[in-house]
């Protein structure tokens, strides 16, 4: 197997915070690896190490055949980095930002200008090419970020939470662009807190939490392992909660969770739903709510770690939390 990225036993501590605690990773050339985890899980730290921005305390990483510590300069020539932490210059225009990168990569003035124009076209930013990046919308900013990391046509692309904070439309547009790059042969390392994003883009997913890998597999494998769907049942009479718990617990793969009269459980097989209905009917239990829904990241985590991630951490404060925990190296 041909691995574009290969890392073993990566450890990085920031004072008391153990950002990475022995992480193994490998990405096959030409594929997309989704690094999935909540804020503060260590995703950004892993990317920063693989991008030569940070030295690991222990462990080893090889990117494109080059050691990230001893041959950092070669690694930098192979990798394009996009993310919340590798940003464009807000005060420069779209064209100037790309021109800057092109010139830094050693392109001639005219080659850099041509490349900038081509990328701005490709990313539908031509109309905004002459405007300062600070006037761009969130989606345009991310597209320019992505374009900036592609100036040198790197064979490897790191996308650190590329769609965090974007609205669904902008997110879909960015996904399309990323798919196009992958089709062109680019190897992608993607970090995300969204299961859906990993599912859409990744060939393989590594789930990390508290600096440790807690699951690895293709999206399908992971879903099968964690229960792709969640069954929710609410009995009309709270006194019958125990009956529901035992019926669901018997048929579902995992131990049910009870919260305020609602019984939820991960299930791997959709056939469980009719079976639960039959058993509850036999037992004469009346239900007011019965639903089968796709597992949220929270539920995947619950089944993987036995505890949930705080919802607000995942949804409400995408950037700040990570800055505090992962950015505290300063």
């Amino acid at each position: 197997m041909d691995h574009a990225i290969w890392a073993e036993g990566l450890v990085k501590h920031f004072g008391e915070t153990k950002a990475l605690n022995g992480v193994d990773l490998s990405v096959r050339t030409g594929t997309v690896l989704g690094l999935l985890g909540p804020n503060g899980a260590g995703k950004t730290t892993a990317v920063r190490i693989l991008a030569t921005l940070l030295r690991p305390d222990a462990g080893r990483a090889v990117v494109g055949g080059f050691d990230v510590q001893r041959e950092a300069h070669q690694v930098r020539q192979l990798v394009g980095l996009t993310g919340q932490y590798a940003s464009v210059d807000e005060q420069l225009t779209g064209t100037e930002n790309l021109l800057l990168i092109g010139r830094l990569l050693g392109m001639s003035r005219s080659a850099a200008r041509a490349r900038a124009k081509q990328l701005l076209n490709q990313f539908e930013l031509s109309d905004a090419a002459g405007r300062a990046a600070k006037t761009y919308s969130g989606g345009m900013r991310r597209r320019l970020d992505l374009a900036a990391s592609l100036v040198g046509e790197p064979p490897l692309l790191y996308l650190d939470e590329p769609t965090t904070g974007l609205d669904p439309r902008a997110r879909n547009e960015l996904w399309e662009l990323i798919r196009g790059l992958v089709a062109g042969g680019t190897t992608v390392l993607l970090t995300t807190q969204y299961l859906e994003e990993a599912d859409e883009l990744a060939d393989e997913i590594v789930v990390i939490d508290h600096g440790k890998v807690i699951a690895t597999g293709t999206p399908d494998e992971l879903k099968a392992k964690t229960g792709a769907q969640t069954l929710a049942v609410r009995p009309a009479d709270p006194a019958e909660l125990q009956v529901v718990v035992s019926v669901v617990g018997e048929l579902a793969a995992a131990t049910p969770d009870v919260q305020g009269g609602l019984v939820t459980a991960q299930i791997g097989d959709p056939q469980v739903l009719p079976a639960v209905v039959r058993r509850l009917d036999d037992a004469g239990v009346v239900v007011t709510e019965l639903a089968l829904r796709t597992s949220s990241l929270n539920e995947v985590f619950l089944s993987l770690t036995g505890r949930g991630v705080e919802e607000e951490d995942v949804q409400d404060e995408p950037a700040d939390q990570a800055v505090q925990t992962e950015g505290s190296r300063a």
């Binding site: 055949g65 300069h73 980095l81 830094l104 990569l105 040198g152």
Partner: protein, 276 residues
């Protein structure tokens, strides 16, 4: 599992040969590109341009016409005294843009982008400092222009002004390391400003930039003002522009510049390496 070389995928231009290090010449080119970027930023940011354009003019006008008469009895005489001091003061204030820009790059993530590129590690710093020199020349030009318009004439001739400019630029280079350290340490660009000015205001105002040291009646304060490197540099600049003792203050200024560099350059580089 073995790590094998990732060959660039078909259709990508990534097949160019990889280099194992940056040549010093490329490092210089990269620094020049990054300096260009800083100058372009100024063009897009009229606020910053006016900040370091209006300030020198305003200070010359303010001190000459508002305080000049009270300090030396005649604003014309004071103009000759204060313009060389203004060069020094503006030079110090302009170095703070290095801290501002550096800190903004660090907090906004631009620095990570630059560091992820195969460029010389020192080029972002060198680019900043080089761009700062452009701002310095502009600021010196504006002070000189304002002064000349009001009647200021370098008694020792225009060549003296040129020498003074070179000394100011050299001192700015040394003082940039202080600015670099502030830029690397401050939590955000606003704090750079606060920190910069709480440090710069006392050392500039408690000097002979605005008043002759002889006018100070408190002994220890007068001693401090006479030995403040800002005063020593002002003495050298005055000597070069108007004639008078040049050798001693110039050599002392250069020693100060060397001491500042020897202290702050290693500190900054160490912080830089730890930080990034």
């Amino acid at each position: 599992m073995t790590a094998t070389t990732a060959t660039a995928p078909a259709g990508s231009a990534g097949a160019r040969p990889l280099t194992s290090r940056v040549s010093p010449l490329d490092g210089l080119k990269q620094s020049a590109t990054l300096a260009w970027r800083t100058v372009v930023q100024v063009r897009h940011n009229p606020w910053e341009l006016s900040d370091f354009s209006i300030q020198p003019i305003m200070f010359v006008l303010l001190f000459t016409f508002v305080f000049g008469g009270a300090i030396q009895g005649d604003w014309r005489a004071y103009l000759e005294f204060v313009v060389p001091g203004m060069f020094v003061m503006n030079m110090l204030f302009v170095t703070m843009y290095v801290a501002q820009g550096l800190n903004t790059d660090l907090t906004k993530g631009v620095f990570d982008r630059l560091r992820s590129l195969p460029i010389a590690r020192w080029s972002p710093l060198a680019g900043r400092i080089a761009a700062d020199q452009v701002k310095q020349i502009w600021s010196i030009f504006l002070v000189a222009l304002t002064g000349v318009v009001l009647g200021f004439r370098p008694d020792a001739g225009w060549l003296g002004l040129l020498w003074a400019t070179l000394l100011l630029l050299g001192f700015a280079l040394a003082f940039s390391w202080v600015s670099v350290l502030i830029g690397l340490t401050a939590k955000d660009p606003e704090r750079v400003q606060i920190f910069g000015f709480t440090f710069l205001f006392p050392i500039t105002f408690v000097s002979n930039v605005f008043v002759p040291a002889e006018s100070i009646q408190i002994g220890w304060l007068r001693w401090f003002i006479e030995h403040n490197p800002v005063s020593v540099l002002s003495d050298a600049v005055r000597g070069m522009i108007h004639g008078g003792p040049v050798m001693t203050p110039t050599i002392t200024s250069l020693i100060w510049a060397a001491v500042i560099t020897l202290i702050f350059a290693p500190l900054s580089v160490r912080t830089f390496k730890r930080k990034v």
